[in-house]
Symmetry: C2
Amino acid sequence: MADTKDSILNASERLFAERGFDAVSLRAITTAAGVNLAAVNYHFHSKKQLLQALFTRGVQKLNRKRIALLDAYEAEHGKGPVPVEKLVRAIIEPMFDITGSLSKDSKTFSMLLGRMYSTPEVRLDPAMLSDIENFGKRFEPALRRALPGVVPEDLYWRSFFAIGATAHTLASSQLLQNLSYGLCNPDDRETTLKKLTAFIVAGLKAGSGIKQKKAGKTGTNRRGK
Amino acid sequence: MADTKDSILNASERLFAERGFDAVSLRAITTAAGVNLAAVNYHFHSKKQLLQALFTRGVQKLNRKRIALLDAYEAEHGKGPVPVEKLVRAIIEPMFDITGSLSKDSKTFSMLLGRMYSTPEVRLDPAMLSDIENFGKRFEPALRRALPGVVPEDLYWRSFFAIGATAHTLASSQLLQNLSYGLCNPDDRETTLKKLTAFIVAGLKAGSGIKQKKAGKTGTNRRGK
DNA sequence: GTCTATATGGGGATAGAC
DNA sequence: GTCTATCCCCATATAGAC
């Protein structure tokens, strides 16, 4: 049985993901976790630091899985570059996998993660920072090799956009079902992953075949200005 | 001159965008607006409905501009389809333009809009709904024509991802500056637009038809399931 | 480590004079 | 329409017994 601390983490992960940080009171958390109200402040010192701990735990789990996938792919491809498709997959797939500790709801932390990017309450603590650095050190070179035609600046831009698409998918996938009049089913994990990966890969590769979009040649993209 | 109601709208637009809905008190709003505390409830009945009004006002402004742009592009292209690039541009560009009523800060509503998608407090009121419908009725056919190779289901998926990329850019562009160690400058509006448009267009077109994306050796795009 | 009880403060909303 | 004063609730956080 999870001890008090873990119960709190698991309950708050779910609640924050569902309702957002401000909308969830400590009372709601402790009730859901079956622990005493004062336990949160005893174990985490404050509500903010609880959120902090939550993210740190989640991001670490996440990056461990990502790097494991990358390791596998790199082994598979020997000295050649790992194709972009697989790199994107390695980064994104774990975000749709994380089960927190509740086996029934598979998307709790992912939803929370989707919210994180627009959650100013979260500050990067040292543990999380070093974790993110490790992640970057592993994936950046791999991406560079896989996309030799994309200059570093663009690689940042595009990765940033990719994060946005992913975060939005994690946080608001329900919206898609409405917008598409039921045509798209975001609860189908594998389909979602496939569509998202295809979109991101295309965006990352954009125009990397032949022409650069720098001033000079206008190529197919005529800007009427 | 802005009357009380508008002062409240403008002040709250800025504050909500900067700090988020819950983090901004009515007292902060009325102080910033230079009006009395009770004025908010007098004019908007509640804090939630203030947010509502804010979104309705913003979305209407936004869609008016978008449709005007589309009109212009369609006139320009006669009976032929408007290229995807321009459609994307017509949708996205106004989001980076909106100045609210504060001439000095150009991104207030846009940032707020970026947050909206993960803001459960917002419910679509009738005015906003009909507005969004008009928007869809104008742009959906145009997109279909511009992307004949993309099945409707995928068009929804991809538009959804595009929204995510855009929202993220609007809401957290500051993040990019850090992630890229200063290499990318998200305050440069025109560059941001160009990069974002290129990314989205590539994602929308992904694997459609023949004419684009030859990424050399990794171009093994196994389609079909 | 866990609980009860409480301190302390801020929040949204309103009543009612002007 | 605008203001003052206030109500009342609910939040986080802590003190101190067990």
